[in-house]
């Protein structure tokens, strides 16, 4: 049983006897404080998990949780009655997440940008507050991104009890498995595979998000294939290719970063409900950004 704060107790106790309007108003910064306290991980000072847009003192009417806050996702958040958006990825396209364009390559002066302008305007006119939750969310144990991904793939009973990033399936060919994954995740052009399509696969290791060569080197020898979000092609892709050339019965499936994180943000939406039970929290799914020419 988890402990609840006095404020939470008051909020929970109020449900059923009082209408939502007379509850203690909760601001976006109140919610972030609750998330920090309940996150289960030590909060870092150097982190991307900060407010990106809007006024943190805004009273929250509803919460939207997404992997990538595109204009389309923000519109759907507004339609769902949310004004507080929790996102895994940046709002303004770069790691710096500045609400105006960064200086260009070679420090070229930034110019007025219609896309930045429209996004800022949409956020302002709808009174949205956007907060990023990435560094700390993916640090939670057990890994919520792997839980989300295995849930979405229908592997919740096939994943290891002590590590959701390890899955054991009945034997299946890499070709069949890749098609099945593509279908279940609704992926389009972002999914790419290295290895013999006829390879028999049973043991799978997951690397959601973006990972470096060290992660692939540690995992691939232990499993038949790695299913990753995004890797550097000169690192883990060539590593997988060389492993196959060396006779290793191995493979690599790349899903794309956002596609691999998307189900983990559904898990996040569920978790946020437990942190803010008096508010509605809605998962806003993201689609594969990539397509392939026919």
């Amino acid at each position: 049983m988890h402990s609840i704060s006095r404020r939470e107790f008051v909020s929970i106790a109020a449900v059923g006897v009082l209408s939502r309007q007379v509850q203690t108003p909760v601001t976006a910064s109140d919610l972030v404080e609750r998330i920090k306290q309940r996150s289960g991980v030590e909060w870092r000072t150097n982190t991307v998990d900060t407010f990106k847009a809007g006024d943190p003192a805004t009273i929250v009417k509803g919460i939207a949780v997404c992997a990538m806050p595109t204009m389309d996702a923000l519109k759907r958040a507004v339609s769902a009655g949310a004004n507080f958006v929790i996102t895994c990825e940046p709002t303004f396209y770069s790691r710096g997440d500045s609400a105006s364009p960064a200086a260009g390559r070679g420090n070229a002066a930034p110019v007025a940008d219609p896309i930045f302008n429209a996004k800022n305007e949409f956020i302002k006119s709808n009174g949205l507050v956007v907060w990023r939750f990435s560094d700390h969310w993916r640090q939670r144990k057990p890994d919520p991104l792997s839980i989300g991904l295995t849930d979405a793939l229908g592997w919740s009973r096939q994943r290891a009890a002590d590590d959701p990033a390890r899955v054991t399936l009945s034997r299946v060919s890499l070709d069949t498995l890749a098609s099945d994954i593509k279908k279940k995740l609704g992926a389009r052009g972002g999914i790419r595979v290295v290895g013999d399509p006829r390879l028999n696969v049973q043991k799978i290791g997951l690397l959601p998000g973006t990972t470096a060569i060290q992660a692939a080197i540690a995992l691939l020898p232990e499993v038949d294939i790695v299913v990753a979000g995004e890797v550097r092609e000169w690192e883990s892709v060539e590593y997988a290719r060389d492993t196959v050339t060396a006779g290793g019965k191995k493979g690599l499936i790349l899903l794309g970063r956002v596609v691999s994180e998307d189900p983990g943000m559904k898990v996040c939406a569920e978790w946020v409900k437990s942190v803010a039970p008096e508010l509605r929290a809605t998962w806003i799914p993201t689609t594969d950004p990539y397509w392939r020419p026919s």
Partner: protein, 265 residues
């Protein structure tokens, strides 16, 4: 008199047209040494295990790759040295007297940069469309993003090209990038960026998300990722021809790594 790897590197330095920078950690010997006798040269995009095997089959024992040998940019072997594929690769290279010398930084600072020359050639981006020599910006007859991407895919024989943007967007101004050097898509003078790969989020400038927002606003923008290997491999043909021009006594040829990926149905 036997030609050594050191002789060939000396000729590369002499013919480069600009001073060699000894502080490059990339452009160094990665396997074998300057004293290794060379029977023939293979240029390659990656010095992967398959390339090494096919070079040996073709009687070539010096590999000049553009990218890494040991699956990390610094070619730091401590990261990989306990891996079975590393051990098998090194054993094979030792057995066949392979010497590897990488050319990356100096290839990109050379003029012209063959990676761009090769990519433009392979994509059919004719110099008559380039706004200025080496601007890498091509203004082509207006087309759709879908038709442009399909044309690139056909020319490259590629399987796993990835595109972001409205397929029906009408585009004509293309900024060509190579490898990981993806041009900024939030440039008002550019409709489409073409490159090898770039991280999907958390980059320094922009990302596919910018293009998705452009789609929502009806602004024509496109993001075409060819894959790192096929984006920069093309220019290794020009690199082979250039090395051959001052190394006439031995065979020099491109050994293609090809596209690493296939795509599921």
């Amino acid at each position: 008199m036997a030609l050594t790897a050191g002789d060939i590197v000396a000729r590369i330095k002499m013919n480069l047209g600009s001073p060699w920078r000894d502080n490059s950690t990339r452009d160094t010997f990665k396997f074998g040494s300057a004293s290794t006798e060379v029977k023939g040269v293979a240029t390659a995009m990656f010095c992967n295990f398959d390339v090494v095997q096919r070079a040996v089959e073709a009687g070539l024992n010096m590999i000049i790759p553009h990218e890494d040998t040991y699956w990390n940019d610094r070619d730091d072997v401590t990261i990989v040295s306990s891996d079975p594929a590393y051990k098998a690769k090194v054993e094979f290279m030792t057995k066949h007297n392979i010497v590897v010398f990488r050319i990356h930084d100096h290839m990109h600072s050379q003029r012209p940069d063959f990676t761009y020359v090769g990519a433009a050639r392979a994509l059919g981006l004719d110099s008559k469309y380039e706004t200025a020599p080496q601007s890498h910006r091509f203004v082509v007859p207006e087309t759709t993003l879908e038709a442009l991407a399909a044309d690139f895919q056909k020319r490259l024989g590629a399987r796993a090209i990835r595109v972001v943007g409205d397929p029906k967007a009408r585009v004509r101004r293309i900024q060509l990038g190579v490898g990981y050097a993806t041009p900024a898509v939030n440039n008002a003078e550019v409709d489409v960026v073409v490159s090898g790969e770039l991280q999907e989020a958390d980059g320094n400038f922009d990302s596919p998300e910018y293009v998705l927002d452009a789609v929502s606003l009806g602004i024509p923008k496109g993001w075409i990722m060819l894959g790192h290997a096929i984006s920069e491999e093309q220019g290794m043909l020009e690199m082979a021809q250039w090395i051959k021009s001052f190394t006439p006594e031995i065979p020099v040829q491109l050994v293609r790594v090809g596209e690493p990926f296939w795509v599921p149905r």
